[in-house]
Amino acid sequence: MTLLNLLETLLVIGMLGAALFVVRTRDLLAAVVVTAIISLVAAILFYVLQAPDVAITEAAIDAGLTTAIFLVALRKTERYEK
């Protein structure tokens, strides 16, 4: 296993763990922030897989814009899930 493969494996495992955290946690603000981190890791993976166009789009739209929209929605409700 090369170093790059190892990096990819670690990133995918990290994404899975973060996704589980997002589903399980009751703190919605933490969920939104971790969702942004997942998108950022996805962008890194796209870059490693030689798709820089997709990586840029993923980083700008998913990690940036979607997070902002989620945060606006969160302001309209409460921070903790019941």
């Binding site: 820089p52 166009d53 840029i56 700008a60 940036g64 929209i69």
Partner: protein, 231 residues
């Protein structure tokens, strides 16, 4: 209990069906003759070094016009929805912490740099990764940072709407010019030039600049409306 068993059974059937369908295709093989053609002839036909951009703007240009239209409709619908929300939800106000000095100072320095990056991404769409859509979103994110750091920041909604409309119209006019000069809608009527130079690749840079302006103004308008309903 029976519902759960049924759900698992259904998923198993779905998995078997998917496996049956995908098992016949060797993993990772190149099955599309047309993608091979794009890779072999794209650069010399159109002059764009970034093949992804050539496919999006020229080979599949009409699809991209549809995509821009869908984005426009989504933004318009969301704007209408947000206006309805703003009317009813006046009661619940939160205590607000004002943006810190670090945030305000950093934004003052970063704002023009992020704008510049966004413009770079959409102007150089035919040379480097990226293009009109991500470039426009980067421009909008610069404004998002401004909205976060300065309470009194507003954009001129009338100007945003004018930029959006003019950019969309320019896209269609470029398409009609292609119909008039080269025989089909959105045809490439400019010479391909030397691949790798800024002024090359025919109409790709022109179209991506209009898309960049359109997406940037659309998203900025949306973010600004969202800021107004949270206040």
């Amino acid at each position: 209990m029976t519902r759960r068993v049924l759900a698992i059974l259904l998923l198993l059937i779905l998995a078997v069906a998917l496996y049956q369908a995908l098992a016949r295709v060797p993993f990772g093989t190149d099955r599309m003759a047309v993608s091979r053609y794009y890779l072999d002839h794209g650069v010399q036909d159109l002059g764009g070094v970034n093949i992804v951009t050539s496919v999006v703007v020229l080979y599949r240009g009409f699809d991209t016009l549809g995509e821009v239209t869908v984005l426009f409709l989504a933004a318009t619908g969301l704007g209408a929805l947000l206006h309805g929300l703003a009317l009813h939800d006046e009661k619940r106000r939160r205590t607000k912490t004002p943006p810190s000095l670090i945030m305000r100072t950093a934004t003052r320095i970063l704002f023009p740099l992020i704008l510049l990056l966004g413009a770079y991404v959409f102007v150089h769409g035919h040379l480097t990764p990226g293009g009109g859509f991500p470039g426009g979103v980067v421009v909008a994110l610069a404004y998002l940072l401004g909205f976060l750091a300065h309470d009194h920041w507003r954009v001129n909604h009338r100007a945003v709407r004018w930029i959006e409309g003019l950019a969309g119209m320019t896209y269609v006019i470029i398409g009609l010019l292609g119909l008039y000069l080269a025989g089909s809608f959105l045809a490439n009527f400019l010479p391909p030039g030397t691949p790798g130079r800024l002024f090359s690749a025919g109409i790709i840079p022109l179209i991506y600049i209009t898309i960049g302006f359109k997406v940037g103004s659309e998203m900025t308008g949306l973010l600004s409306e969202m800021k107004e309903i949270t206040e």
